[in-house]
């Protein structure tokens, strides 16, 4: 179809609809790209932390006043042996008294008090990948086999942090959906405005016998010419922002907080946004025009 390519120029260039549309498109793609990057990073970090926390336990052997050091050592060794015998346990390490003291040092200034403090013996237990180990069951088994012991799972207190991270990820995902929704809404509004401005031209083409798809194609071309550069700009701005954030975080030494992740994967997910955003805009434009033409009769 050899239609002139500038049939809808009035609406897009003279009425500034094109400019408005471009600005909004840049913003949407920018926000969407940031949201998906945040989503990817958070989901991955939460997953790694969650996995880390689920796989670690601490066993405490309570302090007994005036206990024979030899007896104390035997009890500890028995406890380690009992733990190692459990099929779910991958590794057991003793946290040395010095280490325990050091951990407490930041809370207690008085060296004499620190020395006199009844320190429990702590064992760091790593659970095998995929093994389900109930801290309570483990505690019951240890008490039965060896003697008094407390088992602490880290999951308890870090669950909240884990939940927080997951929450952030969900917010990012919701933002993404809202952005997509906003893109479709804005495109529909812009298209409707353009259709009002160009109503006569569209009607003329229609009554001169231009098939629907040919008119829609012309209209779509205008949206395409605006949406593609706008998406690229929004994407470039988002990449720049993320690069700045990463740079800042790494200069603060905080990059290790983020789980090791593949930037290729994150980058791949990010490119979905400009591609998806532009496609969404083009499809929305086409659908609005075809709907409009159906109303003409």
């Amino acid at each position: 179809m050899g239609m002139p390519s500038n049939l809808f120029a009035t609406a897009f260039s003279q009425q500034r609809l094109g400019l408005m549309f471009s600005i909004i498109m840049v913003l949407m793609v920018y926000l969407g790209t940031l949201a998906i990057a945040a989503q990817a990073v958070l989901a991955r970090t939460a997953l790694t932390w969650g996995y880390d926390l689920q796989s670690r336990l601490t066993v405490e052997i309570p302090f007994i006043p005036d206990e024979d050091p030899l007896l104390k050592a035997t009890k500890r060794d028995k406890m380690i042996a009992a733990l190692r015998a459990m099929p779910e346990v991958a590794d057991v390490t003793l946290i040395k008294d010095d280490e325990t003291r050091r951990l407490l040092q930041s809370w207690i200034d008085d060296a004499a008090l620190l020395d006199a403090l009844p320190l429990p013996q702590l064992l760091d237990v790593t659970v095998k990948v995929g093994a389900a180990l109930e801290p309570d069951a483990m505690q019951r088994a240890l008490v039965k086999q060896v003697g008094e012991a407390q088992v602490y799972s880290h999951a308890g207190w870090m669950d909240k942090l884990f939940g927080f991270l997951t929450g952030l990820g969900v917010i990012a995902a919701v933002m993404l959906v809202l952005t997509a929704f906003a893109v479709v809404t804005v495109i529909s509004v812009v298209c409707r405005a353009a259709l009002v401005v160009q109503h006569d031209t569209i009607e003329l083409l229609y009554f001169m016998g231009a098939p629907d798809h040919a008119i829609a194609k012309q209209f779509q071309k205008h949206i395409q010419a605006l949406a593609i550069p706008a998406s690229l700009i929004g994407f470039a701005l988002a990449v720049l922002t993320i690069a700045m954030l990463v740079f800042m975080l790494s200069s603060l030494g905080g990059l290790s907080l983020i789980a090791p992740l593949s930037w290729v994967t994150v980058g791949g997910m990010m490119t979905l946004i400009p591609v998806g955003g532009a496609s969404l805009a083009i499809v929305a434009a086409r659908v609005s025009l075809l709907k409009h033409l159906r109303r003409l009769g």
Binding site: M1, G2, N6, Q14, L204, F207, G209
Partner: protein, 224 residues
């Protein structure tokens, strides 16, 4: 039969009945005047033919097809066999006279360069040879009208619907345009020429469709 109306009525959504029980049958190759005072329903009748309006009652047949039974995808091909001169011209404001007149050919798939010579000649024929690249806003009412006429006939339609095509030009230009339409008719195009200018109609011995009060009336009724 090129066009036929059987008991056709048209009621606008506001409830006004503009055309009431119209019956007509138009033979191919003829030149018809469609007359009636302003507001008599001439434009409405033409809109029923080019399918911008659907009859509230009755049957409209176009090129031997009952238009009520047309599928949507059949409209474009049907419409491309029609030429329409709109009462309000409907030129695309940012396209030149040449581009406006070439539009139907472009819609039919022709590329720009292939049609340019033909369209230029046509615009020369309607007396706009020196205004080819002017925008509609740079043309007078009569000149715009001539561009819209050129556009309507550029693809040699079988049926030309002209809605007051001489409404905006002086008497001399009106005569010239009339000759243009008559010549086109001689070449085989059926013409329906809507006008409220009685003197123009009187000058030519052509069949007349008279509208009054929403009905078609005979010459005898007209005289009464």
């Amino acid at each position: 039969m090129l066009v036929s109306f059987e008991h056709v009525s048209l009621r606008y959504p506001c409830g006004r009945t503009v055309l009431d029980d119209i019956n007509l049958a138009l033979m191919p190759g003829l030149f018809y005047f469609l007359t009636g005072a302003s507001g008599a329903g001439k434009s409405s009748l033409l809109r029923l033919i080019y399918q911008m309006e659907k009859p509230s009652a009755g049957r409209v047949t176009l090129f031997d097809r009952d238009t009520a039974q047309l599928y949507r995808h059949e409209y474009p091909a049907l419409r491309r066999r029609l030429g329409i001169v709109f009462q309000d011209f409907r030129l695309v404001p940012h396209l030149s006279a040449l581009e406006n007149a070439a539009l139907p050919l472009r819609l039919a798939g022709a590329e720009r360069l292939d049609v340019e010579q033909h369209v230029k000649e046509l615009l020369q024929w309607v007396g706009l040879g020196d205004r080819l690249h002017a925008l509609p806003s740079e043309l007078s009412g009569g000149e715009q009208q001539r561009v819209s006429i050129a556009r309507a006939i550029v693809n040699k339609p079988r049926l030309l619907l002209a809605d007051e095509p001489t409404g905006n030009v002086d008497d001399e230009s009106a005569q010239k345009l009339m000759h243009l339409f008559l010549e086109l008719n001689k070449m085989g195009t059926t013409v329906i020429f809507a006008t409220h200018q009685k003197d123009l109609v009187r000058r030519y011995a052509k069949p007349i469709l008279r509208l009054r009060g929403g009905r078609l009336i005979t010459a005898r009724e007209e005289a009464a």
